[in-house]
């Protein structure tokens, strides 16, 4: 079935497709619906839901939602949650959970703030040190979970308190600011302007075309390889429709960004993470082992999978990504504050589950986590734009999470019986 193959590869480009205008998406939705009957129902279901939510708010906000300025905002507002959601998805696939990521993000943000502001450490050095602190914190938690055998819920609940307290100790209850300009760019910077003056941001256009070329090349190459191995292929019509949908999505999205300040740097980071982790989870031995452990740990162990090491690494990775999210958030605020990162873990966990994770582990994709995160992000942004208060926003988000997972459970039961 070339189906899993090709849809997976499109994962590298489908994230921007999520925030695109609905019209060119239509053709893709049809094909996706057909596949949804056989494939990962929740993920495709959520892609459709995301498209519907975008259409709904686009109409409701009289077109403000998809204005270039707002799309850029949307990306910058949600980037740190999306970064966390990628790591969280991997942890959940392995059959665990991490409640500490919000506190850890704020702790690392605080550490970086103290380094840069109080000790005048150059920002690249602070950034790298911060990521290392994240890795160490992840290793600390991974050690207790993997090698000592304390449930991850407990270890990371402890971590949540520990790192929150650590943040307050580091900052002594004060906000620490401001940061060097270079550091702030992580969150609020754009690709530089080059070349002749057009109405659009040149580098963004070039980047968009580059991404498009790569995506199409990858699709075609994958198809040819599959044919070489004598595997079953997606019908040519579907394949072309899919290529057209991807092309349209990338182009529209590129134009949207290019007509404002251009390509945000944080989107570059996010895109790189999505491609790298998507590929890692799909194509690496380590990724495979993660799915196997979450799916059936006993069977995985009896097949020679070193489950302790894999789980340990999942938490180290989560620590690094939490640190990165902490950097992005601190850069956006331009301050290290004791209140940073509160409830981030809940948003990240919700994103993973909306995006197709299973509470028992073994299921989910990195792309799914991004889709789940975008569903939440667009809901937040759209509801704020139309003036729904945060009280009702919470209620609605809670119901969306329940409905997404409930739909999946219902669907599985129907298939099972």
């Amino acid at each position: 079935m070339a189906q899993t193959e090709t849809t997976d590869i499109s994962g590298t480009t489908a994230a921007p497709a999520g925030t695109t205008a609905p019209q060119p998406e239509r053709g893709g939705v049809g094909a996706l619906l057909v596949q949804a009957l056989r494939g990962n129902v929740r993920q495709y279901g959520m892609l459709v839901a995301l498209a519907l939510i975008i259409v709904l708010f686009q109409i409701w906000t009289d077109g403000i939602l998809l204005q270039p300025l707002n799309v850029t905002n949307l990306i910058q507002q949600n980037s740190y949650i999306l970064i966390l959601a990628i790591g969280m998805m991997i942890v959940i696939i392995a059959g665990h959970i991490d409640l500490s990521v919000g506190s850890l993000a704020s702790f690392v943000g605080a550490a970086a703030a103290v380094m840069m502001v109080k000790h005048a450490v150059p920002w690249p050095v602070a950034l790298v040190s911060a990521l290392l602190i994240g890795a160490a914190a992840g290793a600390w938690q991974g050690f207790w979970i993997s090698y000592v055998g304390i449930p991850s819920f407990i270890v990371t609940l402890a971590g949540m308190l520990l790192f929150r307290g650590g943040t307050q100790i580091l900052l002594q209850g004060q906000s620490v600011a401001p940061f060097p300009k270079g550091f702030q760019k992580i969150s609020s910077g754009f690709l530089p302007e080059v070349g002749p003056s057009t109405n659009y941001h040149n580098l963004t256009l070039l980047l968009g075309l580059g991404v498009l070329a790569l995506a199409v090349l990858q699709e075609v190459r994958g198809r040819r390889q599959a044919a070489d191995y004598g595997l079953e292929l997606l019908p040519l019509g579907f394949f072309l429709a899919k290529l057209a949908a991807v092309t349209a999505a990338v182009l529209v999205f590129t134009l949207l960004l290019a007509s404002y300040h251009g390509f945000p740097i944080v989107l570059l980071i996010l895109g790189a993470l999505l491609v790298a982790f998507g590929y890692l989870m799909r194509n690496s031995v380590l990724g495979r082992h993660t799915y196997a452990i979450g799916g059936n740990e006993a069977a995985a162990k009896l097949s020679g999978v070193k489950s302790k090491r894999v789980v340990f690494l999942a938490f180290v990775n989560m620590g690094v990504l939490a640190a990165l999210a902490g950097m992005v958030f601190a850069a956006r605020l331009n301050a290290g504050t004791p209140q940073a990162g509160i409830n981030f873990e809940l948003e990240a966990i919700a994103a993973a589950f909306i995006g197709g994770a299973s509470a028992s582990g073994g299921v989910g994709t990195v792309l799914g986590a991004i889709i789940g995160g975008l569903v939440l992000g667009v809901l937040n942004n759209g509801m704020s734009l139309v003036g729904i208060g945060t009280d009702y926003q919470q209620v609605i988000k809670g119901l969306v999470l329940l409905a997404a997972v409930g739909f999946d459970v219902y669907n599985k039961r129907k298939v099972g019986s």
Binding site: G295, A299, K306
Partner: protein, 515 residues
């Protein structure tokens, strides 16, 4: 006291694809201890589940009369209300509750939902006295041994005013001393007028407590014999148990047997929780290249435990022994080490230990040897798919594609996926644990052919099976195990079902040197 206390008439019960019971009848007289025996899978447990309402009325054919009245139990509670209590082999006690709390669990001395501890404790003490257990009723169940836990189960049954007590292999987990006490208690309860059905395959045990014995085989009643002169009865019981039809055809083999490839020496394993208990006790065996060697044994013989502990210490606590490959001692302390030495273990429980049921066929097949389809840690999915596709063809795995979820396949096809996984790892030694359990006849024949081919390629194959005809049909040599020990080694030419069963039912009491 006219007529039997229990009569089960013409009970038939089917599961999808399998007929577990056909036309089974069982009759228990008042105050009788009635033994039920049969090989693994003969239908004993299913029959007891029908009787106790686990399989509710309507899901089986036939009728049940208890104390002369027809019974239509819809669940286990309904049968307990009539005084039929079943004690399963795996005890159903809550370890962190006290003895007293366990005895009255679901049956509490309470008014309006508030428990009366005075009544509970008084009654618990009385019941503990009846079963001869001298423990404080406040003691946590986790803190007493398995033998005493068994007595707590019986006290729990007495609290429900049991009239017919069903014990499923009650002594399987007990040492000799505890077994003897338990059997005494059964006789005592009998004297108090409580009838008892005991499922057991320890013949000396049956001879000691049972008044009569019913033998099941392949879901049918073979006969019911009165137990008096034990020597005569034992022969008849063994013959009744093993007379299974040779229903399968086994592939013709011309074994070319080479040097000893795989040997286990003096292997001993302790129970993972109860460290005193030896689950495998000083077992030594060997397998030659091109040879298929069987291990026969009944439930609790320690066969799976032996295999799993050799395969990367995946079961229990290692307490001594060596593994040799081609005459050299090897380390198999972790599963990757064992796989690295070319050992493969195909589990008896494919759903829990063999497959990731959420994942597809191709990823299950490649899991134990992912390195063979990857370079520098990156999986070549096309290559992986091609490999899976070729196994799908050669092993005749019936599925729409190699991307089908394994959880949705039939048992036979799941088993073929597990076998493919291990064949793909290119082992030199294959340990196959119940390779044909719960799969249809057609798939069985295909798996026999695969096993024969593996041996013909010069691999050493060890087959654990509860089906004696299968072992006699496939193996060149057969070991027997009972209660964790090796009790015999027989060449196929000399082996019969009767001779194997005799070795499988040897009790440890004969050579007793447990300290």
């Amino acid at each position: 006291m006219a007529g039997p206390v229990l009569e089960m008439r013409s009970i038939s019960k089917s599961f999808p694809g399998v007929k577990a019971l056909s036309d089974v009848s069982l009759s228990v007289a008042p105050g009788e201890v009635h033994a039920v025996c049969g090989e693994n899978g003969a239908g004993k447990s299913t029959l007891m589940k029908v009787l106790s309402g686990v399989h509710p009325h309507g899901s089986y054919e036939g009728e049940i009369l208890f104390q002369g009245e027809p019974c239509t139990f819809k669940d286990i509670r309904a049968s307990e209300q009539r005084g039929i209590v079943i004690i399963h082999q795996e005890l159903a006690l809550v370890p962190y509750l006290s003895i007293a709390e366990n005895i009255f669990l679901g049956n509490e001395h309470a008014t309006h939902g508030i428990i009366s501890w005075h009544k509970t404790l008084t009654h618990a003490k009385a019941l503990l006295g009846r079963v001869g257990l001298h423990e404080n009723p406040h003691t946590r169940v986790a803190d007493i041994g398995v033998g005493k836990q068994q007595l707590v189960e019986i006290a729990k049954a007495l609290a429900k005013e049991v009239k017919l007590l069903i014990l499923d292999e009650p002594t399987a987990a007990l040492n000799d001393e505890d077994s003897r006490k338990l059997l005494d208690l059964i006789l005592e309860l009998k004297a108090q007028g409580i009838s008892c059905i005991i499922i057991s395959h320890k013949l000396n045990e049956i001879a000691r407590v049972a008044d009569s014995v019913t033998i099941l085989r392949d879901g049918r009643t073979i006969e019911t014999i009165a137990v008096d002169a034990q020597g005569v009865a034992e022969d008849r019981i063994i013959r009744g148990m093993v007379g299974r039809d040779l229903e399968h055809r086994y592939p013709e083999r011309a074994p070319e047997i080479g040097e000893v490839a795989f040997a286990v020496e003096d292997w001993t394993v302790h129970h993972p929780i109860d460290h005193q208990r030896k689950v495998v006790d000083g077992v030594s065996l060997d397998v030659r290249r091109g040879e298929i060697v069987g291990i026969a044994g009944l439930m609790g013989a320690g066969r799976t435990e032996l295999a799993m502990s050799v395969f990367g210490r995946s079961y229990g606590r290692y307490a001594g022994g060596r593994v040799l490959l081609d005459g050299n001692e090897i380390r198999t302390r972790t599963v990757p080490e064992a796989i690295g030495h070319g050992i493969a273990y195909v589990t008896e429980d494919r759903k829990h230990f063999g497959l990731n049921l959420m994942d597809d066929i191709s990823r299950n097949i490649s899991l134990s040897a992912l390195g063979k389809v990857s370079r520098r840690g990156w999986v070549n999915q096309h290559e992986e798919t091609r490999v899976a596709e070729s196994f799908r063809k050669t092993m005749n795995i019936k599925a729409p594609s190699v991307f089908a979820e394994t959880g949705k396949l039939s048992g036979g096809n799941q088993q073929k996926v597990v076998l493919s996984k291990w064949i793909f790892s290119e082992p030199e030694v294959l340990i196959l644990d119940e390779p044909t359990r719960g799969i249809d006849i057609g798939a069985k024949a295909e798996i026999y052919t695969v096993i024969a081919e593996l041996a013909a390629q010069g691999k050493a194959v060890l087959v654990i099976s509860s089906e004696l005809p299968e072992l006699l049909g496939m193996c060149d040599r057969i070991y027997t195990m009972a209660e964790g020990r090796l009790t015999g080694e027989v060449d196929r030419a000399d082996a019969t079902q009767e001779s194997l069963m005799r070795l499988m039912t040897v009790s440890a009491a004969i050579d007793d040197e447990q300290v």
